[in-house]
Point group: C2
Chain length 215, copies 2
């Protein structure tokens, strides 16, 4: 019975997500669903990415998902890009309907790329397609090398993995190669970038890769 | 309608949790529900805590909650304490029924304290009472000072907050006092400890505090 309810929720979600996808296509938007556990650095990744895209003449727009608060939206709007905050009021992920509502409030101002920053959670966001073109996962090196085995769905669903905070590697016991090998076993086509939002290392490479998807 | 379903799930959960609580009481167990986001160091906290409790003559038992895998249970069983693994198979939190099943498989061997390591998630675990005496939250300093505002329920529900990985503070821009002030505003009675599982700093203080609750 419980499974049946969950399935019907996911089916309803997918129908709305498909409508979102068509709307995004119509508007010429490439859409990234950005996911991670709490504090892995999604907003910092956005800040660094949006700045560099702007330098290359590509304007971004952002939907910020948080249970409560507007800190991230405030950080993003300082970059002078259109941003809408979704407060889920308890829900642990964004769903297609929340995104649909948010898009209606978003002034695109010529944006070519829309970033949807999901709620910080390595589990549930991976289950909900919201109409995006690409799921991007951020993992902080401080989280340890066992995460792919423990949270396989998110690693499986993501097209790209940003391994963040590599400036902290000298102070950790992390085996970065082991982490990457485990992630590759779970998702052999996962594209990985080592980055540090603090030092800027690796960000240009990631942005160049992203630009390949934008017209 | 959706709210009604969720409420009935939570009510059913609370009934079983109450049964768990009575069972724990009968067995003379103090029960800790250990929660955090992914990679904040719950298992390392357990390893350091269990070792020190053993030195003081207090035996522990552990229920390990993970979506998949047995890495954490393997680390814990190396300490020669009774441990049972729950694999939630996708679910993002432990509920009272899962804990009830696991307790049936647990050989207590004179344990006075039971640690329930929840799924790494700052959202959903806080909603599910499993019959524990104390909710303890672990937060890594690498996660940033904005977590109390973004995940208020977990901070509100927890009795104790272990601020972990303080050995990394010199390499971060974290304002530890600001973090604590924000957490205190959300939960004025929250007891906080600064700890490092790597250097051992602060662990004895936390264990002394924990011992006050154990007969």
């Amino acid at each position: 019975m419980k499974i049946k309810i969950v399935r019907s929720i996911l089916e309803a979600n997918d129908r709305i997500a498909e409508e979102n996808r068509l709307l995004f296509k119509e508007k010429g938007l490439f859409v990234v669903n950005l996911m991670s556990g709490p504090g892995a650095g999604k907003t910092s990744v956005l800040v660094e990415t949006i700045k560099r895209l702007k330098e290359k003449g590509v304007q971004s727009a952002v939907i910020e998902g948080d249970i409560e608060g507007t800190e991230d939206a405030d950080r993003i709007s300082a970059l002078e890009v259109p941003v809408v905050q979704i407060n889920t009021g308890g829900a642990c992920h964004l769903d297609a309907n929340m995104v649909r509502q948010a898009v209606q409030d978003l002034e695109l101002n010529g944006a070519k790329i829309l970033f949807i920053e999901n709620v910080g959670n390595l589990v549930c966001p991976a289950e909900f397609y919201v109409g995006e073109d690409m799921k991007v996962m951020v993992l902080s090196v401080t989280e340890g090398e066992d995460k792919p085995t423990k949270y396989p769905l998110m690693f499986r669903e993501s097209k790209t993995l940003l391994i963040n905070k590599i400036d902290l590697l000298p102070y950790l016991d992390l085996d970065l190669e082991k982490l990457k090998n485990t992630a590759s076993k779970i998702n052999p086509s996962l594209k990985m970038f080592d980055i540090s939002c603090k030092t800027g290392k690796g960000i240009d490479k990631w942005v160049d890769y992203l630009l390949e998807f934008i017209n």
